[in-house]
């Protein structure tokens, strides 16, 4: 898998970094950075007191979208605490701030030449599936016309 990761570096920025054999010291910076070195906790409003309420309909929708079973008390608690944790960012003032989707925005996306270099590994790919039939993956029935 590591080999794959190495092959699939997707931007110039990444390919230019040299792999050093010795153990990396992540605390020590080789390049200047604008990223604050200490987390800015004060900027987050404290939302831990906010009660998270979920109606059964939303829970049902979440279960369907995420394919996760939220029936048990523990699963529901985990979900609520996750929402509470993420809720912090919704209270931050972001008016007139251009959204930053990735720190690599200024980098050029690396392009690959149109050559066939992969594939032909049906055995390996199919070996991940629980049920197969004549080289097909088998799944529960999908979206089919209503009258059938």
């Amino acid at each position: 898998m590591l080999r794959l990761l190495n092959k699939r570096f997707y931007c110039k920025f990444a390919t230019k970094t040299k792999v050093r054999p010795e153990k990396l010291n992540f605390k020590q910076l080789t390049h200047p950075t604008k990223v604050p070195q200490t987390p800015v906790k004060a900027a987050f409003p404290n939302t831990s007191a906010n009660e998270i309420e979920l109606d059964p309909k939303s829970i049902q929708l979440l279960e369907r979208l995420a394919l996760v079973d939220l029936d048990s008390e523990r699963a529901l608690e985990t979900l609520k605490s996750s929402i509470q944790f993420a809720d912090k960012i919704t209270h931050i003032q972001t008016d007139n701030v251009r959204p930053l989707y990735t720190v690599l925005e200024q980098q050029q996306l690396q392009l690959r030449n149109d050559l066939v270099t992969e594939g032909d590994c049906r055995g390996k790919v199919l070996s991940n599936a629980k049920v197969t039939d004549e080289d097909y993956f088998v799944s529960p029935p999908g979206n089919i016309p209503l009258e059938q």
């Binding site: 110039k12 925005e105 529960p140």
Partner: protein
């Protein structure tokens, strides 16, 4: 009670005064065109149609953890070329997004597409609309967006065992999605738009446009509303598999909606599938609740930059739009105008020739190699005889074995008065049935030469005159049209082989009233 009756009566004429408003249909198209490439959009597996099941699948296509997408340069270039040909504004920066839905043939659980910032926007397409029995007219539709995205795998539904069989060969194939504004009104307009799009994409060689292989797929959004009202609730018709089906499916769906409303029903926002066999649309199970695709930026792909500077050159990781714009060939509409200007064709003739690329090739090559034959004879024969013959057999002109050389030989013989038009038509059929035999051999073999020998013709004419005494009498009385009956008789007697020009001259001479 009494009062209410009077009231009702008094409102009656008022209602009748309100003019009945016409219903209008609104059609918008979404086209998915598979970009012609050797490898997939984000992985290095192959794209050939009909490859063994699950063989063109890279680890990335099967969503094996740890794999990452790398964009295929050719797909970006093809997308830009198509965008330029359709008059789009190409965006300097476009971005990739994840569109989530759970589906067995979508191993990642999301599709990588472009939602926030597409490759190109604001294009326009103007195309001739051909409706049988009506005058050809031009229609314009705006192209809202052109985006790059991956295809999903393919599912086969096994009704008996209640399961789906999934082949991932298609998963990750490169697609261009073209979203058109709802500027169309009828099925024919939609079919004509797609027909023109196919011509353009084939010229650009950015898509094979083989609808039977799913390389070009059309979804139609259809709604109806009364004149002056806002647009009605739309339905989406999917699974339209041929140009002919586009017009049929949309016409069916418009009529279904009109009928539903006439019966007091309500149109619901739903996805319907076109059933080509029974020629109707069928509701699909999906979209009972509005889907939440949970779009989010694709974290594994930084934005895609292109170079918009005029005169720039492409570099390793930066595609130049200016460099690509030079590579764009002559587009169908330019060809039509060139044909009209260069050969003084009627616009309708130019449209027919351009819409059948093979016909156009034949026309141009015959014109080059056989300059002595007037162009009018060439296109008339190609359209009225060759194309008509193919249509009669329900045969695609592309699939017809008769090549330009054969047609040139026929026209050469026709122009040299070696054969007549009947024989030329017969030769098309003979060539189609005997693709290995040459035209000259067929003429000899089936004795198709035109009879030009004057004595022979005179003998035939004499025979015809004795066979048609009534027509001769009428003709000599001054009814010149009666001559056609005698000419027809000669044609019959000569097995359609006599040179009609000579026959007419000969008959006129023979039937001339003796000088007094």
């Amino acid at each position: 009670m009494h009062y209410s009756i009077i009231r009702r009566l008094s409102t009656q004429p008022k209602l009748a005064n309100i003019p009945k408003r016409k219903w209008k249909s609104v059609v918008g198209l979404e086209v998915h065109a598979q970009i012609a490439s050797a490898s997939k959009l984000f992985s290095g597996s192959g794209t050939s149609f009909g490859a063994p099941l699950n063989s063109s699948v890279a680890y990335f296509d099967a969503s094996i953890p740890g794999t990452l997408p790398v964009v295929n340069r050719k797909c970006v270039e093809s997308g830009i070329k198509t965008a330029l040909a359709l008059g789009c504004r190409v965006n300097e920066v476009s971005m990739f997004d994840r569109k989530h839905y759970f589906y067995a043939d979508l191993p990642n659980g999301y599709q990588i597409t472009q939602q926030r910032a597409a490759l190109a926007n604001n294009g326009i397409m103007t195309f001739p609309v051909i409706t049988p029995g009506k005058k050809v007219y031009y229609k314009t539709a705006k192209l809202l967006q052109l985006q790059l995205e991956q295809d999903s795998g393919k599912s086969l539904h096994d009704d008996q065992l209640k399961r789906s069989l999934v082949d991932l060969n298609r998963a990750g194939l490169p697609l261009m999605e073209l979203v058109f504004a709802p500027d169309l009104e009828t099925g024919e307009e939609a079919a004509s738009l797609v027909k023109e799009l196919i011509l353009i994409l084939r010229r650009l060689q950015t898509c094979s446009c083989k609808m039977e292989e799913g390389a070009l797929r059309v979804d139609a959004n259809i709604s109806i509303n009364q004149e002056g009202d806002p647009m009605g609730v739309r339905t989406e018709v999917k699974n339209i598999g041929s140009v002919r089906s586009i017009s049929q499916a949309i016409t069916y769906e418009i009529n279904r909606q009109l009928e539903t409303v006439a019966e007091g029903g309500v149109i619901t926002n739903e996805t319907r599938s076109w059933d080509a066999e029974n020629r109707r649309t069928v509701a699909m199970r999906d979209k009972e609740v509005l889907q939440d695709y949970r779009f989010m930026p694709e974290p594994n792909l930084p934005p895609l930059h292109v170079n918009l500077k005029p005169g720039s050159k492409s570099t390793e990781d930066l595609v130049s739009v200016a460099a690509l714009s030079i590579e764009i060939p002559e587009l169908p509409e330019d060809t039509r105008q060139r044909l009209v200007a260069q050969y003084s064709l009627k616009p309708e003739t130019a449209i027919i020739l351009v819409n059948e690329p093979i016909l156009l090739d034949h026309f141009l090559s015959i014109n080059r190699s056989l300059s002595e034959v007037p162009t009018k004879v060439v296109y008339n024969f190609l359209i009225n005889d060759f194309l008509t013959y193919c249509n009669k057999l329900n045969l695609n002109v592309e699939d017809c074995s008769i090549n330009a050389e054969d047609i040139r030989d026929i026209l050469k013989n026709l122009h040299g008065e070696n054969i007549n038009l009947q024989a030329a038509r017969q030769l098309i059929e003979l060539l189609h049935n005997n693709p290995t035999i040459k035209v000259q051999e067929l003429i000899d073999l089936h004795n198709l030469q035109q009879i030009c020998n004057l004595e022979q013709i005179e003998a035939l004419c004499q025979q015809a005159i004795t066979n048609q005494p009534k027509a001769v009498q009428q003709y000599q009385k001054g009814k010149s049209k009666a001559l056609f009956a005698i000419v027809g008789e000669v044609a019959k007697l000569s097995a359609q082989k006599a040179n009609m020009k000579i026959v007419v001259e000969c008959l006129e001479k023979l039937l001339k009233p003796p000088k007094k």
